[in-house]
């Protein structure tokens, strides 16, 4: 992408163009923000509410008017993200005046599917928007507070509450009864436009698991980032971090689906009351890409990643970055309570073993392990498992490679099955054994063969994808 793209910014329900000020400031010259008030909100509050298509028309008109000279992007927060998705579809369908879309930035986005939301809450929101001023103010305050992971800066908070109060109640209701429920799944299909998806670890219905289940599957090229401690109003909560992510995204957009998707049934269970908050928090944290400290050198990590792709292939789309997670674990110094006495401490064992693999790859093929074809990598791993790699000065002794590979296989699987995508892939329902009230845990009523409870069915019927036909012993 060239420099200075334009970033059209679409706000959340009750927000306005003002929501984007902090992000625009952080982005500086990296992108020029053009924040738009959607019909019925902000300075466009005099307009009635609109459905998703009409909101997209409104934005498209603005984009045409702006006539960006180079590439442009659309960012949407929550409601705005659904409009952004609709625009991307129109762009990909070749609509005139919308060429040049280079990326989507979907922040706690409302997905193409009807937005998951408790009916009670929807009704309450519909009711108070038309209530007396005092109630409206109180509820608007509560609405903003409930949608952030930690209190906003008082000025941002006050401005956001004012935005909610100046929204046209008809537009507010139009979204809650209309736009949010519109089913755009078939229309959106799979978009080729690269997308940066950010979710807040403290978000309610549109948190990490909902994004992984409902948004990512529509994006062929996505990067999903989980923002620790953040809620739903990400542009206000994390402007600095978002600016950095957007800069990276513009510089190096994802070429594929980078992170795993989740089956909707598993995401729904994860978000339900059957799952306790501590577990949900932990599962969401495991969806977040660890940002260090790490202990392997970049080349070592790349070799590790190549190794893990062979040891535990993930069918995708998107895969869990096991290497990054294992590297972070090595750096944390925590372990599983034991190791083979013959092996050096974990971080050393890993670094040495990876050097042994690279040295062997160089010797046999004149290339690094990660640059070899899959079958050549497998052949080296087989030799390593048999203790038959050549000895290298700073590597691991050949006979210890057997132990190390065993460690690696165990670590790969433990890391994989700690992640919601891993648990979902094997059809695990156990996370639903009980929520926060320890006095009223449902557990399982049925424990026998072929006896499942109604709530388990959607998880158990997640299709089993074959990676290959055989399950033979390798050893």
């Amino acid at each position: 992408m060239t420099d200075d793209p334009v970033l059209f910014c679409l706000h959340f329900l009750g927000g306005s163009a003002r929501e984007w000020r902090p992000l625009a400031a952080h982005l500086g010259p990296a992108a020029r923000c053009v924040a738009i008030d959607l019909p019925g909100f902000g300075d466009a509050a005099d307009q009635p509410g609109a459905d998703v298509g009409a909101m997209a028309d409104h934005v498209a008109a603005r984009i045409r008017a702006e006539r960006p000279g180079g590439p442009w992007l659309v960012a949407g927060n929550s409601m705005g993200a659904k409009v952004a998705l609709a625009l991307a579809r129109r762009h990909e369908d070749g609509e005139e005046g919308l060429s040049g879309l280079a990326g989507l930035v979907l922040l706690a986005g409302s997905p193409p599917a009807p937005e998951p939301m408790a009916e009670e809450r929807r009704q309450a929101m519909i009711a108070w928007i038309d209530a007396d001023p005092e109630t409206r103010r109180r509820e608007a305050e509560a609405f903003v507070a409930a949608n952030v992971g930690a209190p906003l800066d008082p000025e941002d908070h006050a401005r956001t509450v004012e935005d909610v109060l100046r929204a046209n109640p008809e537009a507010w209701k139009a979204w809650l009864t209309g736009g949010a429920n519109e089913d755009w799944r078939a229309r959106i299909g799979t978009l080729a436009t690269p997308a940066l998806v950010v979710s807040g670890a403290e978000d309610g219905d549109l948190g990490p698991e909902a994004q992984a289940a409902l948004t990512l599957p529509h994006l062929a090229r996505h990067r999903h980032v989980v923002a620790r401690g953040a809620g739903h109003l990400l542009p206000l909560e994390r402007p600095g971090a978002l600016a950095a992510l957007i800069r990276d995204f513009i510089a190096a957009p994802p070429g594929t689906g980078e992170t795993p998707t989740l089956p909707p049934a598993f995401a729904a269970l994860m978000g339900s009351e059957r799952v306790n908050t501590r577990l949900r928090t932990a599962l969401r944290e495991r969806m977040r890409e660890p940002d260090g400290p790490f202990c392997l050198a970049p080349e070592e990590r790349a070799t590790l990643a190549a190794c893990l792709d062979r040891v535990l292939p993930q069918p995708g789309p998107g895969k869990i970055d096991l290497a990054r997670r294992i590297d972070a674990r090595l750096a944390s110094g925590t372990g599983d309570g034991w190791r083979y006495a013959a092996l050096p401490p974990d971080p050393q064992a890993y670094a040495r073993a990876l050097r042994s693999l690279d040295a062997a790859a160089a010797e046999t093929h004149g290339r690094l392990f990660r640059d070899l074809a899959g079958h050549d990598q497998d052949a080296l791993l087989d030799r390593a498992a048999a203790g038959r790699l050549p000895a290298t000065p700073d590597g691991l002794a050949p006979e210890l490679m057997t132990c190390w590979l065993e460690e690696l296989r165990g670590e790969a699987v433990r890391t994989y099955l700690a992640h919601p995508a891993g648990l979902a892939a094997i059809g695990f329902t156990g996370i639903g054994a009980g929520g926060d009230d320890a006095e009223a845990l449902p557990g399982y009523r049925l424990t026998g063969l072929d006896a499942r409870e109604a709530w388990e069915t959607p998880i158990l019927e997640t299709p089993i994808l074959e990676t290959s036909a055989s399950t033979g012993d390798v050893r």
Partner: protein, 519 residues
């Protein structure tokens, strides 16, 4: 557990006993001594957990495991961590499986019977009343009558069978093997022994016994003996890691030094009772050069042959649901025509995904697409496993390595390997389990070689040259030092150890009290 109103003792007060460790060995004894009116302080290296806050997750459950590194060597290196020891108020009972067979009387006389192993310096009949008391207090569920022990009574009916149990029951039926609901220290109905111990609700079949029981249905020490101990006036100090002692000229222990909140504190005491488990107890003794005169500390490390057999079924098994090991057979405590001493128990197995996946990856050796595909069979697989005798031998020993931990204490190095007896027993059991799983209709059967439990290292005996403590747990060398945990086992027994450790704990408590009155 609730420690809010517990009695407190000053560190300068010479308490009657400091008990180190609050697991299966420490807790019953602590309650007994407190009930007898003694001033007792328990030091526990781990934290105090609120069961309601456990997460139903294997990785979150790391908090209840002892994950400080141990080095594993020998010809059959044993896995520790989640495979072996716990930490926190309640010790390993926080994560134990609560599978509670009693020891078979023949296992106490293994040497007399077979010339192998080591006899226990006590009569099984002597332990029976203690078993009865423990079971009535912690609440056990199981089938009365119990096929292999007419006298055994369960206060509560069995817990529900899960898929693996149903598969094993049907197969055993076909093969003419007696199998029945497992003896489980899990309450199948709401239960309290009365008094100071809060009511525990019935098991909800969540299957997370090894990750900490949120309902308190499982009998861990923090919901059974320890509330009683506190009610009787014991003080329990969490996050208190003992690492030193002070001794007088005669060699008697006068105070215990422990690290708490980054500081060393010193508790004066008249007696020290080590209940830190069969790795940490000998490690402390070796570190402090206590009772090491006979050279026996750390020797005769034993565990159990704990091989498992896995298969895939044409059923939705969903093995994570329900109490994990809900079926047992004791038909092989003395297999007919066996070419080895001792025997084994067989149990059905349901295992949570990480533990199972880890076993598949490490133990089955799968990788690549074969591994990824097999993991996705999770809901169709079931296992059976054994718990089999291991004989003490010279090569199996705990020593201190040259690497040190954060406290500057040398890490434990455990050498463990099978001798001919374990190898024969394992082969016999593996063949049997394969037969059962074939009869159950399993396909893609495979064997997971596994060692479980940490026992021995400070064995009890009458001969001070061949044991560390006397038949009641008192050190042969240091008069006011006692040991009460899995390290006193002279042989491993076919039965899983914890119920026997608890029964021994009550017995040691009685002996300790007796030793004071007779003084």
């Amino acid at each position: 557990m609730n420690l809010a109103g517990q009695r407190r003792y000053g560190t300068d007060e010479v308490v009657d006993a400091v008990v180190v460790g609050t697991g299966a060995g420490g807790a019953p004894l602590l309650a007994e001594l407190a009930a007898a009116g003694l001033r007792v302080v328990a030091l526990e290296a781990g934290p105090n957990f609120d069961p309601a806050a456990y997460g139903f997750d294997e990785t979150l459950a790391d908090e209840i495991y002892w994950t400080e590194e141990r080095l594993s060597g020998g010809s059959t290196p044993e896995a520790f961590g989640a495979n072996n020891s716990g930490t926190g108020i309640g010790g390993s009972t926080l994560h134990w499986g609560a599978f509670v067979p009693r020891a078979d009387p023949r296992d106490f006389r293994l040497h007399a019977e077979s010339g192998e192993g080591c006899d226990w310096p006590l009569d099984h009949a002597e332990l029976t009343p203690f078993y009865d008391r423990v079971e009535a207090f912690i609440g056990t569920s199981g089938p009365t009558p119990y096929p292999w022990d007419e006298a055994r009574r369960f206060p509560l009916p069995p817990v529900l069978r899960n898929g693996p149990a149903q598969l094993m029951a049907a197969a055993c039926g076909r093969l003419g093997i007696a199998a029945t609901d497992a003896p489980a220290a899990v309450v199948s109905r709401a239960f309290t022994p009365g008094g100071a111990v809060p009511l525990r609700k019935a098991c909800i079949n969540c299957g997370f016994c090894h990750q900490g029981c949120r309902t308190r249905a499982k009998a861990s020490m923090d919901v059974t003996y320890l509330p009683l101990a506190v009610a009787e006036g014991a003080e329990i100090r969490p996050d208190a890691r003992m690492h030193g002692v002070e001794r007088d000229k005669a060699g008697r222990i006068t105070a215990v030094v422990y690290r708490s909140g980054g500081r060393d504190l010193r508790q004066r005491c008249a007696n020290l009772i080590l209940c830190a488990g069969a790795v940490e107890t000998p490690r402390l003794l070796l570190h402090l050069d206590l009772a090491t005169g006979s050279g026996q500390v750390g020797r005769n490390y034993i565990g159990h042959v704990a091989t498992q057999v896995w298969g895939t079924f044409a059923h939705e098994v969903g093995m994570n649901r329900g109490y994990p090991s809900s079926l047992i057979t004791e038909d092989y405590v003395r297999p007919q025509g066996a070419d080895f001493a001792g025997g084994y128990l067989v149990q059905s197995l349901g295992v949570e995904p990480l533990t199972w996946g880890n076993a598949v990856a490490r133990g089955r050796g799968l990788w690549g697409p074969a591994l990824a595909d097999y993991l996705r069979r999770y809901n169709q697989v079931a296992g059976i496993g054994i718990n089999g005798e291991t004989l003490p031998c010279d090569a199996n020993i705990l020593t201190l390595s040259d690497e040190t931990d954060a406290l500057g204490m040398r890490k434990a190095h455990i050498s463990f390997g099978y001798g001919p007896n374990e190898t024969s027993l394992n082969a016999h059991a593996t063949a049997l389990m394969r037969r059962i799983w074939e009869a159950a209709g399993a396909t893609d059967i495979w064997v997971l070689e596994r060692v479980a439990h940490t026992l021995g290292t400070c064995r009890m005996g009458r001969d001070p040259d061949a044991s560390v403590v006397d038949p009641f747990g008192r050190s042969h060398e240091v008069e006011n030092l006692w040991i009460c945990d899995g390290s006193v086992f002279p042989s491993s027994l076919a039965a899983n150890p914890a119920l026997t450790i608890m029964a021994l704990s009550l017995r040691t408590a009685g002996a300790f009290l007796g030793s004071r009155t007779s003084r």
